[in-house]
């Protein structure tokens, strides 16, 4: 069955075969929260190198890549079902691209799709402020705030593909792109 795609569909076709590929596996040491930060730092170190001629561009690229990667990997670690997390990253046509693939359960998928449907009809900046106000009166996590900051504050382009798997699990593939070098942003 074809995957259900939200966001910018063309992003899902971009090949990242020539980029960096990392797999986070549940080994004997177990996959934990701190691995998201470590992995995001590693990706930022590797991918920001081409911008090292200008200190300003480098700092900006390193930070933007680090923040984007960290948010996507944190989400994968937080919401995944047991199994590996596949991460691909690369620089292509003036953008940094990252794709994160992991398995989630049906309930998480429907909750997430609900948020993505709201995104189709509303400005992410407006939704971000709304979500912050909602979060201030409840302590629930998983509000999608990270994604809203990426879309609103980082002008990230994003796509989410949901593919049904056996055992009522869903394979979620998230692709995100931000313009590089950052000084080319308006």
């Amino acid at each position: 069955m074809a995957p259900t795609v939200y966001g910018i569909e063309s992003l899902t076709d971009i090949s990242l075969d020539s980029g960096t590929r990392l797999t986070l596996t549940d080994g004997p040491l177990q996959l934990g929260w701190k691995h998201s930060g470590m992995t995001a730092d590693f990706i930022a170190e590797v991918m920001a190198l081409p911008f090292s001629r200008s200190r300003k561009d480098y700092m900006q690229a390193h930070h933007d890549i680090g923040y984007l990667s960290n948010e996507l990997i944190e989400n994968a670690v937080k919401f995944r079902q047991p199994g590996e997390i596949l991460i691909e990253a690369g620089i292509s046509e003036g953008s940094f691209l990252i794709r994160v693939k992991n398995t989630i359960d049906g309930a998480t998928a429907s909750r997430f799709q609900q948020l993505l449907r709201r995104l189709q009809s509303k400005d992410p900046g407006e939704l971000l402020l709304e979500q912050i106000e909602t979060n201030a009166i409840s302590s629930a996590s998983g509000s999608g705030l990270g994604l809203l900051t990426l879309l609103s504050d980082y002008d990230a382009k994003m796509a989410w593909a949901f593919e049904e798997n056996k055992n009522e699990r869903i394979i979620l593939t998230t692709t995100a792109a931000v313009a590089m070098p950052p000084s080319s942003n308006p």
């Binding site: 944190e74 971000l128 912050i132 201030a136 705030l145 900051t149 504050d153």
Partner: protein
């Protein structure tokens, strides 16, 4: 009083709260002790409170949620002036701190 781990430190001196380092805690529960520390200071009877973020290198979205929640807390206390000191040195600050001003227009945001 101070809360810290190997990556970050947050502490208060009189009516100023300092954030230092990299904050990547796992969600509202993990940020709760920091929230309590600062929320306590907001309700301490000061006329103004400053969040000094000039040493805050990195903050994940759960941390941004914490700052936003504290900003809303300050907004609810009509007679309290909240000053937020930030820096252009860390790129996330110019991107995300203006959202605090949208939540609380009377907040004094100083990005240097």
């Amino acid at each position: 009083m101070e809360i810290s781990d190997e990556n970050f430190r947050v502490w208060a001196e009189q009516n100023e709260v300092y954030f230092d380092g990299v904050f990547r805690l796992a969600g509202p529960d993990a940020y709760a002790p920091i929230y309590s520390l600062i929320s306590g200071l907001l309700h301490d009877g000061h006329k103004q409170v400053t969040f000094n973020l000039t040493g805050l290198e990195f903050l994940n979205s759960s941390g941004i949620n914490l700052l936003a929640k504290l900003t809303i807390e300050a907004r609810k206390m009509g007679d309290l002036l909240l000053i937020v000191k930030g820096t252009h040195q860390y790129p996330w600050q110019a991107k995300s701190l203006p959202n605090l001003k949208k939540l609380h227009p009377l907040l004094d945001l100083r990005l240097a």
